[in-house]
Every structure is written in C-alpha cells, then in structure tokens.
Amino acid sequence: MVTVKAALDAAVFRMARTRYETGAAPTSRESALDERGAARTDGAAGPMRVVIVGGGTAGWMTAAALAKFLGRQIDIRLVESEEIGIVGVGEATLPHLRAFIRRLGIDEAAFMQATGATFKLGIDFRDFGAIGESYIHPFGAYGFDMADVGFHHYWLRARSAGSVQPIGAFSLPIVAARANRFTPPLHNGDPIDSSYGYAYQFDATRLAPMLRSFSEARAVRRREGRVVRAERGEDGDIAAVILEDGTRMAGDLFVDCSGFRALLIDGALEEPWEDWSRWLPCDRAAALPCAAPPGPIEPYTRATAMASGWRWRIPLQHRIGNGYVFSSAHLSEDEACAQILGAVEGEPLADPRVLRFRAGRRDRSWVRNVVAIGLSGGFLEPLESTSIHLVQMAITRLIALFPDREIAAIDRDEYNRLVDLEYDRVRDFLILHYHATRRTDSAFWNHVRTMDIPETLSRKMELWHAGAQVEAYQEGLFLEASWVAVYLGQGILPSAWDPRADNPAAQALSGAMDDLSRTIAARVAAMPDHRATLDGLLRPQAA
C-alpha cells in the first residue's frame, strides 16, 4: 500500500521536475497528485502486480530476488506447469552466483547440500587451440601486476628468452585444480591467498525447487497452469495472461521466463530475435548424465573440443553431467548421441536428451510491460557457463530499474542497453574460443577458423596482437584476466609486449617468477583435497 506521505513526496518530486525542465510555475500539489493517480493503468491503488510466466531456473531466481529485495512493494505471482519440464541450464556456474545466493540469505552449505554442488575453480579447455593442447581458464588472474604492468607481459618476455614455465604455474586456482585440491580463498590481504574466486557445479534441476520454497515463504504465489494466450490492453501492453483452464491472471509487469517458447516477448509482442548462428553455429546439445566414477572430484568443469563442437563434463556430488554441443549442419543428432554415449566415463543414467537452440538475443529484452529473462531473452551456449549468470545479470538490472508504479521508457531503454552490452561482450568472448584455433581436422573447425567475426572482436584481437593489450571495459563479465587466459591458452601469441616489462634485469625477473611458482605450489600442497573440503562442509548439514 502506498502511504499518503509517499504520495506527497512523489508529488513534490514531480513539481521539482516541472520547474526544472520547463521553467513553468510549480504545479499545485493537488493537481500533481491527480496526475500520478491517473497514471496507473487500471486506476487501482496497491502494490505493482508482477506475473512471472514460467517456473524454471530463471523464473524462480526472478521470483526469489524480487521477493527479497522489493518485498511488499510488489505482488508476485508465478505460473508454471508441471507438464513442462525444466531445461535446467547451467549446471556449471560462475563466481557471481555466490553473491546471489549470499544476498538472498541462503546458507552456502545448505545450498550445496540441496543441489548436490561441488566447487569449481575454472574450466579446463581441451583441444580447442589444437588437438592435444589444453589450458584452464581460471577464476583468478595469473601472478600479479608489477609496476603497473600486467603479469602476462613479463611472462611473454621470459617466454621469448625460453626460460619460463607454462603460465598456468603462476595461477593458484589452476595449480589447485590440476591437483584436485580446494579451499575457499582467504581474504587476508595476501596477494596469493586472495588471488582467486570460486563457483559451483550443481544440479540445476534442484535449484528451482529450492528457490520456490524460498519464494513462497516470502509471499510469492505459485499458480499451476499452462499459459495459452496473452490479452492485450488498449495501450498495447499485456493486460493479462490466460491459462488453459480459462483463468485470467492480470498484471502490471510480466516477466517472460517461458524459455525458448518465449510466450510473451515473441508469441504476443513478436520482438525480433537477433541471430548469431553465423558466428556461433552450434545449435544442438545432446545431454547425458552418468554415474560418478570413484576417486577425486575435479574442482573444475571440462570442455573438450569435438569434431563438430565440444562436450562438457561437470562433476557433481552424486553424478557427472555430460553433453555434446554441436552444429547440426555438421553432425546429425543420432551421431551426436552416439558420440556422447561413447565418451562418458561412468555408467549412463539416462538416454541422451537433445536440446535445440539458436545463439542470439532479442533485439530488446524489455518491451512494453514484458521483460524477457533467461532463454526467452537470449541464448549463448554454455561454453563459459554463462547461462545462469545472464539470468542473474538481468534480474539485477531489473531490480535496479524496477518501475515505481509506471513503466517508463527511460528505464526500459537503460535496461535494454545494459543487457545488450553484456550479451554482446559475452558473445565476442565465446566466438574467440572457436575462431582462435589452428585445427584443420574437420569442416566445423575449418568454418569457425576462417569465418568473418564481429568488428568488435576483430578490434580486440588486433590490440592483443599488437602488444598483448586487452581492450578495457568496466561493464561486462569477462575482463582482462579471462581474455589473457583464452588468448594464451589457445596459442594466440602477440607480436610484442608492454616495453616496460623489459625493465627488470633478466635474472631478477627469472628469480621472482621462480619464487612465485614455488610459493603457489607450496600453498596448493597445503590445501585439502576437494572431496575432503566438501565432506567437511556438508557433513554438519547431513547430521
């Protein structure tokens, strides 16, 4: 309920703008109040009514976050059908998810217990640059900057002298991952102990039920049912969604979390899809869980390049998630299923399930009073575990720009600008993984190696080639350390490095680098095994 005081405050704010923008005499308080009252689409007072269509990972993440951070300011209803399964994208995640879980107030151990989660220090990319090569893209930087110069410049100089270890030896998360060891970073100011982050590998099908309980405890109302159509108001906005049983669910703001079906953003509003398949040709995934083999649990996700795409391997507590992401133009679904069945290391726990998708995003994710979050808004293959992050990013932006009664174009435009920026930058980063290859063994790799790439990526690669520089930006998921990891990991060596890296004497530089790698190795040797850390964290929960 809006208080009288809040309404008066709003009226005063309105008057201030009138004076400022037009120079006109202040509007009377009464008329300003009338103006605001009339702006409500249905003339009714009360909290803004939010209807979330779809209850998968994106739907329940949205419900949970809106309920937590907007509380009684809004009325949230979620409609989902048990007949429609959850795609369950993103078993592997990025470190940002930890902040999401923490800000919801969910205990990490409880979350990990409920979702069968393991820890993750990065992604092990195999055979991408060339068959037989591998590198880990870590959640952390290599070494540390010295005299304002990035560590990789010094490494490149040392490499040219032929006297340096692989750059992975200077990254604690990489060394720890290779040793199957894990402990959370210590925020003690030590440049090595605090040099990394971590994420989770978890059963995505268990996240939605967990967040459903969380949301329902915070007044989110769930409605079982299948949405069959949307009802448009006179102004063109969505006024309500109609369920199969005839129920009408009216709302002021609709969040389309209906996955690839995109019931509202596409079905009702017909917002175009910007197709990126010319750069990211993989359009299918054959997913297959298998039993976890005995032995250590790898604290990292594996991405192994295949002849027509790549396959993932995600170790959870209770099973291994596998999948082959491939281009249907280069491989049939049956062949892909056969190949993933032949590749898994444990006993298959189900038949392979084929998912179909298309890389790209909506021209606009927020149109009228519909916000598309998750697969309805955009899709980028899970090569860098970005699916859940993109959902989280969209939710964060929506909360920041959440409308106060009226939906304003200025908020929509800003939301769309920021969401587009994030998608576009992740897109470039993913394309790099394909394009930066020396593979010539298949039609698929020949295609991605020689294809035209976006100008934005081309510019970044030119800058890297010129002097090992990474284009700087603040907004975006993958910053300098990530770009350096993929460039170097896939054998894209620059022609030169920052000339300031030539300043230290060769012997002093070599000594410092040896010290660093030895220190990292010693710290990792003192770390517990990943499984032991998991057991220590989860045992009290089980008890």
Binding site: A6, D9, A10, V12, F13, R14, A16, R17, Y20, E21, G23, M48, K68, F69, L70, G71, R72, Q73, I74, R103, D148, I399, A400, L401, F402, P403, D404, R405, A408, I410, D411, E414, L418, R459, E462, L463, H465, A466, G467, Q469, E471, A472, Y473, Q474, E475, S495, A496, W497, D498, P499, R500, D502, N503
Partner: protein, 388 residues
C-alpha cells in the same frame, strides 16, 4: 628495446610531468624536452590537482612531503561552489554511491528528508580518501624541472633532427578541436588577488563574469576569455600524442586540467607501442579510452555552470543530459563506462544543484522508516555499513 627516443614538446607542468613519467617508465629510452618556441604560461603562481596527484608522485618517485614543502601545497578535502545562481554545492574530493540492504543510501536520504540530518555530500563522502591539492604552480614547475634534469631528461631548444618513437605535444593546435563553447565558458590564466584562507576546503564563486577560487593556498580570480574549451577529437595521430592543454580544455576548477593531464600521461604510458606495427591498434584504443574520459570530464565541468542556471536539458551536452534525465526520473545515474568522476560526486553535485527526483527506487521504500533512519544515522556516523 625498440623504444629509443621520446620527445616532449612544451614548457608547462604537463610537459614536465610527461617527460619525467616517460623517463621513469622506460629508463632505457632517451627522453628529450623540447622547449623551442614555447611561451611560459606563467601558471599564475597557483595550481590545483585532484587526489590523483599523490598517486602520480608515487609513480614517478616524488616524495609527497617534499612536494608539499617546496610548493606550499595545501590539502583540500571539499570544494564548495558558493552562490552559483543562488546555489551552494558541496563537493567532496571523493564520494561513492553506496548501498545498504539493496537500497541506495542517497535514495534513503531522499526518501526521508530531514534538515537536521547530515548533508548528502557528507553522507557519501569518503573520509579516508586522498585529498586534492592547491599549490604554488611556479614552484611545482621548478621542482619538476630539477627532477627531470636529475633523472636524465635532456632539454633542448629546438627539435632534434631524428624522428622520435613518440612525440608528446602539449601545445594546442587548431585542427580537430571539438568546441564546447556552447556548454562551457572560457577563462583566462587568472590573477592572484589575495592570500588564501586557512581551512581545508576550497570555495569557488561564480557570478557569470568572474570565477573566484579561494583555497587554503591562494585566492585567484579568472575572467572570461582565453582558449576555447573542448577536446582534441583525435589526441593520438601517427607518432604524436597530444597531452594537457593540447588534448582538452577545461575550466580551472576542481583541479580538473592537471588531473586530466596526469590521467592522459598515465594512459599514454600504458599504450607505448612496442613495435612499429603496433601503432595503429594502440592509438585507436588510446583514442577510444581518452574520448570517453574527456567527454566525461567536460560534462562534469559543464554541469555546475548549466545546472545552477537552470539550463534546459535539451541545451546540455548529450551525456550530461542523459545523467540529468535519469536522476530526475528516479534519482539514479545511468551506467557510464570510463567516467573518471566517482558516482557519489555526481550525486552530490546533482542534488546540490537542486535537482530532485520524481521518485525513488522501490528498493529504497522497502526498509521501514525506523530502519531507514537507523541506516542513515549509522552512515553519517561513519559506522561500517557492511556490518549492517
């Protein structure tokens, strides 16, 4: 090493600072200062720099205590724009946009107006931030000159015959200048009129004709007239990087000109091309980053001149217009990449200039009144907010 010679043309503080910084960054390269035909600007015996000054000194190895002693430098934590068309605006040297319980602190402040409460600029100010500095510009230039000589920067009257790897030009040219006269007044070099006052803030008065800055160090009066404000649209072309006045023309407030020059010098050092082939790519990225930063600084500089006189949004530079629209709409700033001005300073400026949002974020309405008051009280008392 490929980089063997760097020339810096000019005789002012930016030229000295650039020569020293390049010499420190590349001790193996010959750095030459070319003073031929360069008129002494005089620096009016007074100069100003932001918090970056101390960082810059640390990078070039200049002891801050020595700087303070030799240049009669006085720290400034706050600048007060006094009597700008009836507005008094307090700007801390550093201020952050802060969030508690998912709500922006300034939005809670806007939601619960209370004259007895700490001002918004005080609430957002970072009390531990490094200060800005007001100092004797002539003494500073002399100090930098001695330092340059001591570390091996050569000084010549005419350009040497050989082509340098890089030429840093601090003299403004005519070509490629993006004129901001529609949004910013131009000022002369200023005249020192009286000794300054002893306090830790700077007061700047503007009556539409004259700009008077009173700091702990000096009082100086600037009149209209002087170089056209604006920016060089391509600060790096071929082998030449334009720095200081050659790259951007800012009003002499808040230490902006020197801050911009130092930022550009440090950026230029990050982008020293390691090879001949690298020039086009690094120059393009340097120009991209510099354009973003310069636009933001010019918008920041123009904002008080435009806002305090109630200029129409349509009459503002586009970036500033977007900021104002967003702030008026709901008390938020748009996301701005590469803006060297901290978001908290923008908020303090906009609110101080009398802009009041139409509404606040719904997240700022979530805490009840008691909780909102509690958060604001603790924030004002500098209680660590992350413990909330």
């Amino acid at each position: 090493m490929t980089v063997r010679a760097i020339h810096v043309r000019g005789g002012g503080i930016p030229a000295m600072a650039a020569a020293i910084a390049f010499r420190r960054a590349l001790p193996g390269a010959a750095v030459t200062l070319i003073a031929a035909g360069v008129e002494d600007k005089g620096d009016a015996g007074w100069s100003a720099g932001g918090p970056l000054l101390a960082d810059f000194h640390a990078k070039i190895g200049l002891d801050q205590a020595r700087f303070a002693a030799e240049c009669r430098a006085m720290p400034v934590q706050t600048t007060c724009l006094t009597g700008w068309h009836g507005h008094d605006v307090t700007l801390p040297e550093k201020a952050e946009e802060m969030f508690v319980d998912g709500a922006a602190l300034h939005q809670l402040w806007l939601r619960r107006p209370d004259p007895s409460r700490a001002s918004l600029s005080r609430l957002l100010a970072d009390p531990d931030a490094a200060p800005g500095w007001r100092f004797d510009g002539s003494a500073y230039r002399a100090l930098l000159t001695r330092m340059a000589s001591a570390i091996g920067v050569a000084r010549v009257g005419e350009a040497p015959c050989e082509t340098p790897w890089l030429l840093c030009e601090t003299r403004r040219g005519e070509n490629g200048w993006a004129d901001w006269s529609d949004w910013l007044p131009a000022f002369d070099n200023g005249t020192v009129t009286l000794p300054g006052e002893t306090h830790d803030m700077e007061r700047i008065c503007w009556d539409g004709e004259q700009l008077e800055a009173t700091s702990p160090a000096h009082r100086i009066c600037f009149s209209l007239g002087g170089p056209v404000p604006g920016r060089q649209s391509q600060p790096w072309t071929d082998r030449t990087i334009r720095l200081g006045d050659a790259a951007i023309g800012l009003p002499p407030v808040l230490g902006l000109p020197l801050t911009a020059a130092l930022q550009d010098i440090l950026r230029a050092i990050r982008f020293i091309p390691p090879t001949e082939a690298a020039f086009p790519a690094v120059a393009r990225e340097y120009n991209r980053q510099t354009e973003t930063a310069h636009r933001a600084l010019l918008e920041w500089a123009a904002a008080p001149f435009l806002l305090t006189r109630g200029a129409a949004i349509a009459a503002m530079p586009p970036g500033l217009a977007a900021i104002v629209r967003h702030f008026i709409h709901r008390g938020r700033l748009p996301v701005r990449e590469g803006d060297p001005v901290a978001r908290g300073r923008w908020i303090a400026l906009l609110a101080g200039c009398g802009l009041t949002p139409d509404r606040i974020d719904p997240t700022a309405r979530v805490p009840d009144d008691a909780r909102a008051d509690h958060i604001l009280t603790r924030a004002a008392a500098r209680h660590p907010l992350h413990q909330e």
